[in-house]
Each structure stands twice: as C-alpha cells, then as structure tokens.
C-alpha cells in the first residue's frame, strides 16, 4: 500500500501542489488537508509546504500555528509520526515550538531565489534516512526569512544531538552555523528551507530531492524514534 502523505494547505500556501506532484511521481498518495480540518484523515506523513501561510502576517508562521489542524499535527508528531516543514513550513514548525530556534530575515537584505548546494550532515531523520553523510545535493531555495538563528545553548544541543541534518555549502542567507535543515530530538520532525519537491524531475534542473522524498515515503519507520539511534 502506498504511503499516504497529507499536505496541509493554509490560506496563502503555494507549494502544496508541487509537493503532491512529486509525491505521486514517486508512487506515494498525496492528499491536501485544509488548515481548518479537525482531522488528519489517517495519513502516514504530514508535510507543511512552502508559501505565505496567512499572508505571513505578524511573522511567518505566527498565525498558522493556531490553525485548527495544527493541534492534530502536534499530537501526530508527539506519537512519532513523520512531519516535514519545507520553507514556510519550517517557519511554522519553529513558531509552533515543534523545532527550536527561529528564521530571521536574510542577512544579505535580499530575497534569495537560487539553486543551493547542501551537505548532508545527518542521515538519522525521517527525511535523510536514505542518504549518506557528506553527500552534496542541489536543491532550490526561495525565501526572504531563511536565516536560521537560535540561542547558544540551543546550538550546542543541536550539534551534540546530531540534529543539524543539512548545511549550506556557501551560506546564501547568513544562517547560523550554515544551517539549512534540522530535526527534533525524536528525529521525526524535520524543517528545512530548501525545496526537495522542486528538485524531483530532470526538467527542474535537479533530481537531488528524490532521495529525501523517498526516505519520507519509506514504509512507516517507528525506528526513527529508536532511543538507541543517538
């Protein structure tokens, strides 16, 4: 049976169909979940896609975290369910307190829209399980607020727990410690600024997002929350 991926559509999200297309092209089932829905319909994986949820009013992700569906997403993640936030989805996860730190405005004063080179730093997460540490992958980034920041204590904890999963090669936005993606301590909640779904077909200029999406579509892996896996 195909893995069912629920993609949350907030008012202002704009990458949900890209994620759905990429998931389907890899043999998964994709369902769009409206943010006002009281249920996740029993999906196996939840993706918070890119865009401008609730117009990014107040701060990116600040209002999205109060969307009714988020209560279910939090419970799903607490039960070990895989949750991935891409770009604006990453901002929502930090605002919701599901991932530490925050995404501030890019250091270079510019909206960045380019292909980024990334180094795989940890393969112990629901999104990177199928990769190899040290792999260099190419995926597009497209954001104004992607400059990851956190307190010194949080950074120390992220490093010692191997929670940084992707780093930029050639930092495009000022992110602390070149961080492009992190996971939670359970390794089932992942946030990243690059867009794997836009690197899922030759015509898009890169296929490097495919192994990440495949990792997500791998049969439900409670092992990702394995206490022995660091």
């Amino acid at each position: 049976m195909s893995t069912r991926v629920g993609i949350v559509l907030f008012p202002g999200s704009n990458c949900e169909l890209d994620v759905a297309e990429a998931v389907r092209s890899l043999g998964g089932d994709a369902e769009i979940l409206w943010h006002d829905e009281p249920s996740l319909r029993g999906v196996d994986v939840v993706v918070l896609p890119g865009g401008f949820a609730h117009g990014d009013y107040l701060r990116p992700g600040a209002i999205a975290r109060f969307s009714p569906v988020m209560e279910k997403v939090v419970a799903f993640a607490e039960a070990g369910g895989p949750v991935v936030g891409i770009c604006n989805g990453f901002q929502v996860l930090t605002e919701a307190g599901m991932l530490p730190g925050a995404l501030q405005k890019n250091a270079g004063l510019k909206f960045v829209c380019q292909m980024a080179q990334l180094r795989v730093e940890s393969v112990d997460s629901v999104l990177t399980a199928g990769l190899t540490v040290g792999d260099i992958v190419k995926m597009p980034i497209n954001h104004f607020e992607g400059n990851y920041t956190c307190s010194e204590q949080t950074l120390t904890r992220l490093r010692s727990n191997d929670q940084v999963i992707l780093r930029y090669v050639g930092n495009p936005n000022g992110s602390l410690d070149d961080i492009a993606g992190i996971c939670n301590e359970g390794r089932n909640v992942v946030g990243l600024m690059p867009h794997p779904e836009r690197a899922s077909h030759e015509l898009l200029g890169s296929l490097d997002g495919v192994p990440l999406l495949r990792s997500l579509l791998a049969p439900a892996t409670p092992g990702c929350a394995d206490p022995l896996s660091g």
Binding site: L58, A102, Q104, K105, N106, A107, L109, T149, S151, G174
Partner: protein
C-alpha cells in the same frame, strides 16, 4: 475598565534588520547625516477590557510572549493607560 494598550515590538540586538539598514544607508543621499542605529519595529495598538491595570498588564504580557512576539528574535515594550470612555 477599558485600557488603551500599545505594544512596541523590536528585533533583539544582533538580529538582522534589513529594513532599518536600508533606511540608514539611504539617509546620506537625502542630506541627513549623522543618523545611525536605525531599527524598524512594529507598533500594535488595541483596547482591552480588564478588572485592573495590573491584570491588564499581566494579560498583555502573556499575549506578547505567546503570540505578538517571537522571543527568540524579538522583544516588546508595553504601555497601558486607562482608555477614555467614549459613550
């Protein structure tokens, strides 16, 4: 009681403020010299019904921490005064 509340949200020191930096860089071109440390924030105003100034302050403080600011990157200053009764 009704209280007029003003919350000023500022980026914390060390947090990138591209808007402030851009304004600062454009000032000399307009002949305004000697302006530095430009920071851009947000001012949020609202009216709150509360039993006392103390309880109003407590509620606004909670509102700031949980919603109006992201404590990782922002601080807030709160001012409260009794609102004029209009009716």
């Amino acid at each position: 009681m009704r209280y007029a509340v003003r919350v000023e949200v500022r980026l914390r020191d060390g947090i990138a403020d591209p808007e402030g930096a851009t304004i600062e860089r454009s000032l000399p071109a307009l002949g305004f010299d000697g302006v530095s440390e430009v920071r851009v924030g947000k001012s949020i105003r609202f009216v709150l019904d509360a039993d006392s100034e103390e309880s109003a302050l407590g509620e606004v403080d909670d509102l700031c921490r949980r919603f109006l600011t992201n404590p990782v990157i922002e601080d807030a200053t709160i001012s409260i005064e009794a609102a004029e009764v209009l009716q």
